[in-house]
């Protein structure tokens, strides 16, 4: 990055503990405004914890997380959180439009109904993600990629400018993965900030510009190629608790004898 980017999210010396286990240890990192950033690292590295601590879900033992001068938990309307796909009950009696309308709920008081401005925002979000024709479908009646787009549309309808995605690529097929990457690139071009937990290093390399490499501590951050060097990856994954997170295994399969 040759110009000094304005940093929208700043973590300073963030430590999070669950009882005796430390999830994040003195993490200091800044997320540039309008960047497309992947949070990568082995299982238990604190990737999801980092994302959720932005929403104020985990008490910080040390440090702080800010947007500008304000602590992030006071700016929830600017933050859209996209949950993991498998936490959703796809049989729930709700239509695509019904889900996207939920994006407007936080802005409504209990006695207010959805106004025409709210309806317009919902329609715009549906149109932007090209799911207007599916608006009346029950959410089970969609492909995996379409389901993902419904939740992205809900995030848009919320009117947020910072998007926190928890493993958005999990369980998507190849086509849906490309589709999602395309959408995220479009959002980047529009100046939206996206911060996503990505489990797969290859996916992160292929589709993201910036990376935050974690293993409880910050290992590296910055432009993706500079951050995900073999030395850094080795440092992050060495002593990882899960075999499939070991990047060496990828190398072995690549050299499998024919």
């Amino acid at each position: 990055m040759d110009h000094a980017a304005h940093n929208i999210l700043r973590f300073r010396d963030v430590t999070v503990r669950y009882g005796a286990t430390t999830a994040l240890e003195h993490v200091t990192v800044s997320i540039p405004c309008g960047s497309l950033t992947a949070i990568v690292g082995p299982n238990g590295a604190g990737k999801s914890t980092l994302l959720r601590s932005i929403l104020g879900w985990h008490p910080l033992e040390t440090g702080e997380i800010r947007i500008g001068d304000t602590h992030t938990e006071h700016l929830l309307p600017r933050l859209a959180y996209l949950p993991q796909r498998q936490t959703i009950d796809w049989d729930f009696p709700i239509t695509v439009r019904g889900v996207v309308e939920q994006g407007r709920y936080p802005a409504l008081r209990w006695y207010q109904r959805m106004g025409s401005e709210d309806q317009n925002r919902v329609s715009r979000a549906l149109a932007e993600l090209d799911i207007s024709e599916l608006a009346d479908r029950q959410i089970r009646m969609l492909s995996g990629g379409q389901q993902q787009r419904v939740f992205l549309a809900r995030a848009l309808a919320q009117g947020a400018d910072i998007f926190l995605l928890d493993e958005p690529f999990a369980g998507l097929d190849l086509h849906a993965t490309d589709e999602l990457a395309h959408i995220l690139h479009a959002w980047e071009a529009q100046g939206r900030t996206v911060l996503a937990v990505v489990h797969d290093l290859a996916l992160a390399r292929a589709h993201f510009r910036q990376a935050v490499l974690l293993n409880r501590q910050l290992i590296a951050s910055g432009p993706i190629e500079a951050a995900l060097t073999p030395a850094n990856i080795d440092a992050a994954y060495r002593g990882g608790r899960c075999v499939h997170d070991d990047p060496l295994r990828l190398t072995r399969t690549a050299h499998f004898p024919e």
């Binding site: 949950p83 009950d89 009696p93 709700i94 939920q102 709920y105 936080p106 029950q138 919320q158 926190l164």
Partner: protein, 297 residues
């Protein structure tokens, strides 16, 4: 015409039948809403266990204060919360998992309740507590049912969006500043309120049938939450009124007739629901098999 009159109108010329009908309408309104949310939150079995566990609290309140509605409600609430909190605590402090802890606690509570009720003077009380009798509800019971109904409808009217968000996507609810724990505890309290209100009409064993069966029946027909709630209330109304009539004409226990009527509606729906029923499923599978054969040709 006269047979219709005999079947459907004449029974309701009696005051006890009118009271039963009013009780059914009130309980159906709140039970249909609450049951739908319990089903969607996958708390159907927990709700049933909770219903059983209320018995000692309600029985103790009855022994100490008689048919005092506030005492009955607080007794039930206390027993219910004790079961919930107790099982959470047991599962944290011991090796026992939460479902096993809950299952063990509620059955102990239920047994305690039965022991307490069996110590009462008359057998009639015993049967009432377990199975209720909607044809013997008193004006005081109707007041309690009205109060439960108003509280439930009011809560749903004010908090419908929080309830929907917390049920559909608790993570999103929390991420947008919602208080999931408050919603959860509020729903739990509402369940206890309605169970206590339904005690006289349905008893602790059958009360949840009036809440759950209409909800699962509606779940087989509806693809929108609003539709689901309305349908569940409608099914509860139809089932309880038909059940009361069945009980009157054939002289069956009223709670059982209502649950059996609702059960029949559920099984019919499970077979014949156009999208989610057994017949529709089999038909779709056959169609799929045929299209696979065609493409293979």
């Amino acid at each position: 015409m006269s047979t219709l009159h005999h079947l459907f109108v004449e029974p309701f010329t009696f005051e006890f039948m009118q009271r039963g009908l009013l009780s059914a309408v009130l309980l159906s309104l709140s039970g249909g809403l609450l049951g739908s949310i319990l089903v969607l939150r996958r708390l159907a079995l927990m709700g049933d266990a909770l219903a059983h566990s209320l018995l000692p609290g309600v029985a103790l309140a009855y022994l100490l204060f008689g048919a005092n509605l506030v005492a009955l409600f607080l007794g039930g609430l206390f027993a219910g919360l004790l079961t919930t909190a107790g099982s959470a605590l047991l599962s944290r402090l011991t090796r026992v998992k939460e479902d096993a802890a809950f299952g063990s606690l509620f059955v102990v509570f239920f047994a305690t309740g039965i022991a307490l009720v069996s110590a009462m003077k008359t057998r009639i009380d015993f049967m009432h507590f377990l199975f209720g009798n909607i044809l013997a509800v008193s004006p005081a019971d109707l007041w309690l049912a009205s109060a439960a109904c108003v509280v439930t409808l009011g809560t749903f009217a004010v908090f419908h969006r929080s309830i929907l968000l917390e049920t559909f996507d608790p993570v999103f609810h929390r991420a947008t500043g919602g208080r999931g724990a408050v919603t959860h505890v509020a729903l739990l309290c509402l369940t206890v309120v309605n169970l206590v209100a339904a005690l006289q009409a349905m008893g602790v064993v059958l009360a949840l049938g009036l809440f759950l069966l209409p909800a699962v029946t509606a779940y087989l027909w509806c693809d929108r939450i609003g539709q689901l709630l309305a349908t569940a209330v409608g099914v509860a109304l139809a089932g309880s009124v038909l059940g009361i009539l069945l009980s009157y004409h054939v002289n069956l226990a009223s709670g059982a007739s209502i649950v059996l009527t609702l059960g029949a509606m559920f099984f019919l729906s499970a077979i014949a629901s156009p999208h989610y029923g057994i017949v529709a499923r089999l038909r779709a599978e056959r169609r799929e098999a045929r299209s696979v054969l065609h493409t293979a040709d």
